[in-house]
């Protein structure tokens, strides 16, 4: 497969069609947390009985005096984190996305966001790629409920390396943030040289007919979908990694809306309230164009193997390519 339109300034793995390995994005969080712990004695971490699966255990082993195990109590965790942060600390709290920010949204709203303290939520196991645990454990609403909160930053990194950079970046914010990661191993297509700046969407691939705004595991899948569309259907798609959902990169959205007139959003999340909604808001206010949102459409999902589910719900490269080609005809 050719990759002639991949943006060289992104310094992706070369060739992008064969990344060196697959690792879960939550690993990037865990690595960055240890780096932060080494750099700054004021960084603390907490977990709600899922320290290993959220990769907080690496920090816990190294810095036990700055780690707090709260047990299965996400509401308490959010409140305690607020208290710790108010004493001049930067606190990372981790649980599955369905529990934090799902279970503890009120505490996140009042104790964290209203207090405006540097508490950083890490919601792991988000999206359908959680797999066999089923709908109760598939966080598909977490972006919606966090991006509505004042003082909050919301991130959905695309792979392990980007999750690492995102974690390092939020530590400097001084305000609350939420980052979602996935359980499943994902292709490591970004590298240490790939740029990352909160609020600045990354152009992964050039294109003229359509622009795909994606986040999380769907960034890589969208790049692969665009390659396929170019070579098999003659459709030229730009792909933008919209790793920051809040603050959304309105400039990039307006630019691509004007340039292509046709935008597709792709996310492992409900299309209502997620990335699709955030992009729709910008398009409606700044640069009206045709928009099609791809993701989970107002239903709960099923158990299954992660990649099987991605395929079933059309969130793999084939499904995304089909969604684009099915809808691009409706452009005019």
């Amino acid at each position: 497969m050719m990759a002639g339109k991949i943006n060289p300034e992104m310094w992706f793995a070369d060739p992008i069609t064969a990344p060196p390995s697959k690792k879960p994005s939550r690993d990037g969080f865990g690595k960055a947390l240890v780096e932060l712990g080494e750099q700054d004695p004021n960084v603390w971490a907490m977990s709600a009985d899922v320290s290993e699966s959220t990769r907080t255990h690496w920090f816990a082993e190294k810095f036990p005096e700055r780690f707090v195990q709260v047990g299965v109590a996400e509401q308490n965790m959010a409140g305690i984190a607020s208290g710790i942060a108010s004493c001049g600390k930067t606190v990372f709290i981790s649980a599955y996305g369905v529990f934090s920010p799902g279970r503890n949204w009120d505490q996140v709203r009042v104790s964290i966001c209203y207090n405006d303290v540097p508490v950083h939520l890490h919601g792991s196991h988000t999206g359908v790629t959680v797999g066999p645990d089923g709908a109760s454990h598939q966080a598909l609403e977490d972006i919606a409920i966090t991006r509505v909160l004042p003082n909050m930053t919301v991130l959905a990194p695309a792979d392990m390396e980007e999750a690492r950079k995102a974690t390092l970046a939020v530590a400097k914010l001084g305000h609350p943030s939420y980052m979602r990661t996935a359980r499943e191993k994902l292709p490591m297509f970004t590298t240490a040289s790939t740029p990352f700046k909160i609020g600045k969407a990354n152009l992964c691939r050039e294109g003229d007919d359509a622009a795909i705004f994606a986040c999380g595991p769907q960034v890589y899948e969208s790049i692969m979908a665009a390659e396929k569309l170019e070579h098999e259907g003659g459709i030229s798609c730009a792909v933008i990694n919209c790793h920051t959902i809040k603050p959304i990169d309105a400039e990039a959205i307006a630019y691509w809306a004007k340039k292509t007139g046709f935008i597709v959003t792709v996310e492992d999340h409900q299309i209502d309230g997620g990335l699709g909604s955030a992009v729709a808001e910008v398009i409606a206010e700044r640069q009206p164009c045709i928009l099609r949102r791809h993701g989970i459409r107002n239903h709960f999902c099923q158990s299954g193997e992660p990649l099987e589910l991605m395929k079933h719900y059309g969130l793999d490269s084939e499904g995304i390519a089909k969604f684009v080609s099915d809808n691009i005809g409706k452009k005019r």
């Binding site: 047990g71 509401q75 409140g79 305690i80 004493c87 009042v110 207090n115 405006d116």
Partner: protein
């Protein structure tokens, strides 16, 4: 009334000094408490909404804490060595605001802006809006966890300061309160003192009818806490309970303070409906009358 509330407030000068000077004279403390009560009534009358009974019932406790028990500095609210007071049941904040103004964190005249547009005195406390407010609160049960978080830092970093958390009995209906109690015990937070305003009322009625909480002391003891029960209107006893609490260093302390909502305001004493109803014009005068003719502030002496 011969004086408007605003004039009365202007009469007093903020307490001077760097670190807060402790008041040991119990009689003076009762005068201060009375002044705080009166200000709460005036504030709520002016605001035309809010929660008088609980706030008035806590005046003696806040007086003991801010004028005797706690190390703090009204002129340096961010002083790192200060004891922290976390108010968990945020709806009683008029008593917090009145106590903060009484000690000199901000001018007393500002008390009358409670709940007004542009005021630093929000309807429920907002951290960052007003000097001396340690945490935003309102939704019940959350302050207990916040206080536990502060105490964790204090303990792990071997700080001398303590964390005082004022909470309500009704908010113990919230599961989060018990989550916080479990964790405080797990980490043996001997620098944490919670003071429960055991006034037996909540919005829908008496706590033991809405959701029975007793035996509260036994529950907290079973959770691994040191429990002290006091009359929440006996300032001397409140202070001695806090002194006892300071000596307990291997576990958190719960002071169950039995209070009477609306204490000393004859028509509010223990009447559930005054939980969330502000005093009207005549009611304010009656309330101030029932608190005695001593309408001057402590600072006037």
């Amino acid at each position: 009334m011969t004086e408007t509330p605003k004039q009365a407030l202007l009469d007093a000068e903020p307490t001077a000094g760097r670190r807060m000077q402790k008041v040991a004279d119990i009689k003076k403390l009762y005068l201060i408490s009375n002044s705080i009560r009166q200000n709460v009534i005036r504030m709520l009358h002016k605001a035309k909404s809010g929660h008088p009974a609980g706030a008035i019932g806590l005046a003696d406790i806040f007086t003991a804490l801010y004028f005797n028990v706690m190390n703090h500095d009204p002129k340096d609210p961010e002083w790192q060595g200060r004891d922290r007071l976390v108010l968990s049941n945020g709806h009683v904040c008029p008593v917090l605001y009145a106590a903060l103004a009484e000690t000199g964190y901000f001018p007393k005249e500002e008390l009358m802006t409670l709940r007004q547009l542009g005021s630093r005195l929000q309807g429920h406390p907002h951290r960052g809006a007003l000097p001396g407010v340690e945490n935003s609160s309102g939704p019940l049960g959350q302050g207990l966890s916040v206080a536990v978080g502060m105490a964790l830092v204090g303990k792990r970093e071997r700080k001398n300061w303590k964390v005082y958390c004022v909470c309500s009995d009704g908010e113990h209906d919230e599961g989060q309160a018990w989550e916080a109690a479990l964790l405080a015990s797990k980490y043996k937070l001997g620098n944490l003192v919670m003071i429960m305003d055991r006034n037996n009322i909540q919005i829908d009625g008496f706590t033991e009818e809405v959701m029975p909480l007793e035996p509260l002391g036994e529950k907290y003891r079973a959770f691994g806490w040191h429990v002290i029960e006091v009359d929440g209107h006996n300032i001397e006893r409140i202070i001695s309970a806090c002194e006892e609490a300071k000596k307990v260093i291997d576990r958190p302390v719960m002071i169950i303070a039995h209070t009477i909502p609306g204490k000393d305001v004859s028509f509010m004493d223990f009447i559930v409906e005054w939980h969330g109803k502000p005093p009207g014009d005549g009611e304010m005068d009656r309330a101030l009358d029932s608190l005695g003719t001593e309408r001057k502030f402590y600072g006037d002496e």
